[in-house]
Symmetry: C2
DNA sequence: CTAACATTTTTCCAACTGGTCAAAATTCTT
DNA sequence: AAGAATTTTGACCAGTTGGAAAAATGTTAG
């Protein structure tokens, strides 16, 4: 009874015995060829385009293959199922997505730290809007594919950073406020510029809806998080 | 050549002449029967459930019919096409959605006004999360069905309210800040609790993720918008 | 150059999709 | 209670969808 290699192109090589899959065989997995690496990236790029707009169910393999410039069966040669593509995108995403928060440094001072956290998130909204929308789509659906990661990895990270924020508050360097909702409000206000981009642009109009809107947003948010909207004596 | 009534069940009765639709005939439209009103509502409810999670393309008539507890052809008797259902939901939505902002009163004082605007939006996130998600889904897709309404009605309303905010700033009752981004930040922070509900709950954990989260959010946001995060001497 | 492997294309399929239609069942009106 | 109108159902259809299989074509290490 000799195991049979069924496919190589996919990252996760499937091994069968008597026609039944017996799990990944990392030992047997060959290194990806040049073409495999390139094509997988092309596909993931295309899939990001499509999934970000239509969500998982609303996207079709045909659509993705079309954007990727290849035939559907050819695409399926690299990712044997639609879910596989989505899984890859989503899991890569979470790492990238949490990076800015990870960088928030307990040894720094709260305002520079929060300020640059907001900046980084805003830059991500500007430079990676598709990723933001992919994430938003997943959330809207109840995060079916990443709920455990959210409940464990994300929660742990946020718990830790909430602790950092509380520390700063104890030192009197930061106003006392719910650290969790503080983090939520940073997420919300920054990702809004990616997820609701159409609305933002439509409301700002042609004159103010250009690239400058991110600078305006950064300035405004900085003020909001620093001082709120209470008028101050003199600036 | 006598016009023929083709359907009555739909709100928009179609009249045909020689088999070609010649537009709505509000004159001929009979009042909806009891069953029609009831069933249409059942369908719209079900569709809201489904569309809010899966978006337009990702939702199927079968799914909606299933949730509505009727057969697909029966559902199609009331709404002859999928788009019709979606259109109805979306257009009803926009009216409801803008109501809280409309209520912001130029003659009031800025802080009570902004404060209750935030409360109202937060209540909507709590009580109408499906509507919020339907809206978010539409935005993520680039608002294909409501772009003109966004560009005209919404923009006009926001322009007007931005004027109100600027007025308050001129009077020195409100810190000078970009009024458009101010409004965006209220939208973002409040709708976040509907659209990213899973995440919020997962991060807060069972202890703090209960219904109380909306009260916590309200308290936090109030502080944020009022004073920001700069520590104040004494509360 | 060629055998072994990787890639691509062609063809196909079963399940699902949005939607039609006529007949049957129900409800309403008189 | 009967006839008319409305509502519901079941059978059906053409197009789309995710995916399988195999043949055809490319690529590359020896």
């Amino acid at each position: 009874m000799v195991p049979t290699k069924v496919k190589n192109a996919d990252t996760s090589v499937t091994i069968e015995v008597d026609g039944k899959p017996v799990g990944k065989a990392s030992a047997k997995a060959r290194p990806l060829t040049r073409i495999q690496r390139e094509k997988q990236n092309v596909i993931l790029e295309a899939a990001l385009d499509v999934f970000a707009v239509h969500g998982f169910r609303g996207s079709t393999i045909d659509q993705i293959a079309d954007v990727a410039g290849m035939s559907k069966p050819n695409l399926l040669y690299y990712f044997p199922r639609k879910e596989e593509i989505h899984r890859r995108l989503i899991s890569e995403l979470l790492v990238t997505w949490l990076a800015p928060l990870r960088e928030m440094d307990a040894d720094g001072d709260p305002f520079p730290e929060i300020r640059s956290y907001i900046r980084r998130k805003l830059e991500m909204a500007r430079d990676y809007p598709r990723e933001s929308r992919l994430f938003a789509n997943e959330m809207l659906q109840g995060a079916p594919h990443i709920i455990e990661m959210i409940e464990i990895d994300l929660k742990n990270l946020v718990d830790e950073k909430a602790g950092v924020l509380l520390g700063w508050m104890d030192e009197g360097k930061l106003a006392r406020a719910d650290p969790y909702h503080l983090i939520f409000s940073i997420w919300a206000t920054t990702q809004h510029y990616a997820d609701f981009d159409v609305q933002v642009r439509a409301v700002l109009g042609p004159s103010r809806g250009g690239e400058g809107r991110f600078e305006d947003a950064a300035r405004y948010l900085e003020q909001l998080f620093l001082y709120g909207l209470t008028p101050r004596a003199k600036v």
